[in-house]
Symmetry: C2
Subunit: 154 residues, 2 copies
């Protein structure tokens, strides 16, 4: 009988872990989509407000890694109101949870509306966001954006 | 007197944490350099043997994220013996440690030897490697390679 209770306990603990992982996954995906929505509307504060002081950051436009929130504000603050994405699709987001760290990775496709009402693919990206939980808040400690299969100049 | 001991205890704990962080940082940087050295000599097993089963992976040649060790073996196993990097420089590696997770990020510059004995820059990369410690082993759970400031086709 004891074994059955232990088995039930293990299944319950397993389900609880899975529920916690799913919940943390949904939280960081929601935070990321919120930041993407604001970014597409020209509001860079969505991302900037998610960054921890220790943020480390890569994108294809930088000569090297950017370190720290102050440097990120200096780099992206001036773009406030100057960015517009018509529509995006977040593809296949995956969250790898370990203690207070959640690693979110996904592909994203941006679309640009055409004068005739159709859409074309404006850009495709590979995205990594590493979040750290402090108390009940998730903050980004590392971010890496890159082009998916860029067509390079010969 | 008690306060002094508490203060000394806190300083000691702080130093111990810093020593642990430095040690973990040195470990994952050494693992990464070992894998890079083998890669540059055509041995893809250096990286493949570091990957956890759950590895998620981006590089600029893939149409989307690769998930899992079997898929990575399928993608990079065939390159065994077919890669050569004359020399590389790992620039400004940084490790962000949190529990059993270490996030390593760095820039890297590859060099190609020229017939006249000089060198030219062959490629510049942004690199993210997320390691998880299980027991005394670090394994890569996420990896993201991208070009630094790629020159795109018009």
């Amino acid at each position: 009988m004891t074994r059955i209770f232990i088995a039930i306990g293990m299944v319950a603990a397993g389900l609880a872990t899975r529920a916690r992982t799913q919940s943390a996954g949904n939280e960081v995906i929601a935070l990321e989509k919120g930041a993407l929505d604001r970014w597409g509307n020209g509001d860079v504060e969505g991302y900037l407000s998610l960054y921890a002081d220790e943020i480390t950051y890569f994108d294809p436009f930088q000569a090297h890694r950017i370190d720290g929130l102050a440097a990120m504000r200096a780099a992206y603050g001036p773009f406030q109101g100057k960015i517009h994405v018509d529509r995006y699709e977040m593809l296949n987001p995956k969250v790898q949870l370990s203690g207070d760290i959640a690693v979110l990775s996904y592909n994203i496709q941006n679309y640009a509306s055409q004068p005739d009402g159709s859409e074309k693919t404006a850009a495709r990206w590979n995205v990594t966001e590493v979040f750290r939980r402090t108390g009940d808040k998730w903050r980004t400690i590392h971010s890496h954006f890159s082009f998916t299969q860029p067509k390079l100049a010969p």
